[in-house]
């Protein structure tokens, strides 16, 4: 039992749930990175974006519920701790907020829900954010006049979660509780990003609790308790910042090659097994064309990422022709290892000519969109050597 007052179905936490749920699901669906293959991590990240709707919702309800506390606090005898009383007012929206996030995760992930090890990390961030914004809403409701507190509770969480994404330094975005731009199938979420989000949500909770202690605690706030909360808040925030600073713009790190599944001459991520056949056939043809052009790649495999003995050439398609055209277009630039600004123009010309020769050998000149050629008389093997041996 939370408290002895209204039945939970009469609380705004429950009455507002359908609207919050619709907004949360819409946001999650709109946020999913388009991919013909369903990468669970990308869907988890998309589900976590629902907090942009749920955070303001729980904060708004908490700010509203704070009016109940304002009505009775200091006027009626209260023989319960303020934390217990605040918990009674905040728990319904924490429960409904967590419920909404759970539904969104289940709806987005379905079969992968229990199979993905990272689900728990995303879900933990979401739950921490629901808790944090609920407490922040209560603090706003208790410190500000209702007419200001309610719009502030609605707008502040949304701005706090979205605006830092466009600020510099870029790592600020990892402190919002939302993992932006996560994740392509070759990425996995960085533990540092998860940790930074969790720590900042903890700091937000600590700050709000300190504000509540000052507002609702004994008439002379117990300085030791407030000081402890402030120290804990600052410590969490500093730890969160130091964790986020290790990251760049993306909350991701490279997915380990050990997760690749290899078949024939192609290695793919487990959720992309469907592209193996098209890529394998296309790569055989490209390799054959290269061999005919006297460029022998031996037993080189292709994969979604650059790894030992693999070219990062896998194309997310089940159409052999599309894969072949994409490989033709990408081959020269992917084998170019001689990064040097002084020779960039020469290499670019070489890459273009190599692509032209390869396209002609494969009969896809039209699809590639290159014209018939120039007066360049260098052979494909010479061009390949120019791009890979870095002698010139």
């Amino acid at each position: 039992m939370i408290g002895a007052d209204r039945p939970i179905w009469r609380s705004w936490a429950v009455l507002g749930t359908p609207i919050a749920m619709i907004l949360a699901l819409a946001l999650a669906r709109a946020s999913e990175v388009f991919s013909p293959f369903s990468y669970p991590l990308a869907r988890q990240a998309a589900a976590s974006v629902a907090i942009l709707a749920v955070g303001p919702f729980v904060a708004l309800v908490s700010a509203w519920e704070a009016r109940v506390l304002l009505a009775v606090w200091g006027r009626l005898p209260v023989h319960r701790s303020w934390m217990r009383v605040v918990a009674g007012r905040v728990t319904p929206q924490v429960l409904t907020g967590c419920g909404i996030m759970t539904v969104v995760y289940v709806e987005r992930l379905r079969d992968d829900l229990l199979h993905s090890s990272t689900t728990l990390a995303f879900y933990a961030i979401s739950i921490a954010a629901v808790l944090a914004w609920s407490v922040v809403g209560a603090a706003l409701g208790l410190w500000l006049p209702t007419v200001i507190a309610l719009p502030a509770a609605l707008v502040a969480p949304y701005l706090a979660m979205t605006y830092p994404a466009s600020w510099t330094p870029l790592w600020l975005r990892h402190l919002t509780g939302v993992l932006f731009d996560c994740c392509s199938s070759s990425d996995r979420v960085s533990p540092a990003a998860v940790l930074a989000s969790l720590l900042m949500m903890g700091a937000l909770i600590g700050l709000s609790l300190a504000a509540l202690e000052v507002r609702l605690g004994p008439s002379k706030p117990r300085l030791d308790r407030v000081a402890l909360m402030v120290v804990a808040t600052v410590s969490l925030a500093v730890a969160g910042v130091s964790s986020a600073r290790a990251l760049g713009a993306l909350p991701t790190e490279a997915r380990p090659a050990s997760e690749l599944v290899c078949e024939r001459n192609v290695c793919v991520w487990p959720e992309e097994l469907g592209v193996i056949d098209a890529n394998s056939r296309a790569w055989l043809e490209v390799q054959g064309a290269l061999f005919a052009l006297e460029v022998d790649l031996g037993a080189t495999r292709i994969a979604p990422i650059a790894a030992s003995g693999m070219l990062p050439m896998v194309v997310s398609t089940t159409d052999r022709q599309v894969a072949m055209v994409a490989m033709t277009l990408n081959f020269a630039s992917l084998v170019d290892r001689c990064f040097d600004s002084e020779t960039a123009e020469i290499r670019f010309g070489a890459a273009e000519q190599l692509t032209r020769l390869l396209a002609a050998e494969l009969g896809v000149t039209e699809e590639v969109g290159f014209d018939e050629g120039t007066a360049d008389t260098r052979t494909a093997s010479e061009l390949y050597a120019l791009l890979t041996q870095c002698a010139q």
């Binding site: 039992m1 408290g3 002895a4 007052d5 209204r6 009016r67 109940v68 009505a71 009775v72 200091g74 006027r75 009626l76 005898p77 209260v78 023989h79 319960r80 009383v85 009674g88 008439s219």
Partner: protein, 239 residues
Amino acid sequence: MSRETIRLTNVSFSYGRRARCVNDVSIEIDGASLLLLGANGAGKSTLLRLMAGQLKHSSGSRRVVGSVGYMPQRIPRVPGFTVREQVAYCGWLAGLPTPEARESADEHIELVGISSLVRQRVDTLSGGELARVGIAGALAARARLLLLDEPSAALDPIARRSVLDALARVADTGVAVVATSHTGSDLGRPFERVVLMDRGKIHFDGSRRNFLHGDHDDPAVLAMVSALNATLASGRGDA
């Protein structure tokens, strides 16, 4: 059987650096209902809040035995709550478990005669109805000693009568009722004992009969008694 008791000994209190609102007061509430009389600013409400523990005394001591209920002068209207919800919430805040708080709310709502209002929202109630909600709320913690700050202030005579009747019924259940009043119009059942305060000190503490009909030489008591008698004589009082 232990009786509900509040004992204040040499208690003083002041708001900030202002003069003491309550100055070296000693009083014991021991089960008899009591009306705390005094003009505006006499220190009645402050003394009541000190008894309730809502204020912390700056000197002296306070001893409480048993469960004490307190109703402020401005009774809160909890936004969106019905009468039953507000009374039950008062009981819960005072420490009762949820089921017991609900049960206690139903009992005391019936006792103060507002059963017909249980589903009504508190922000739609009249002053008299709200006063009885406040009394039920103060009782909801199963209090056996009830401290009420001006329960009948600003009420019309009919509403005041309904509140006093409710208090009489409460007192009949064995609850000691302590109420403040600045007009004395509440003198009557259930208040057998009267305490008069003036400028933070107690000037009279005795029976109602003695207060109204005894010989007094304290100017503060004489002023209040003669004002009450004049009110009664003019036919406007209903004490």
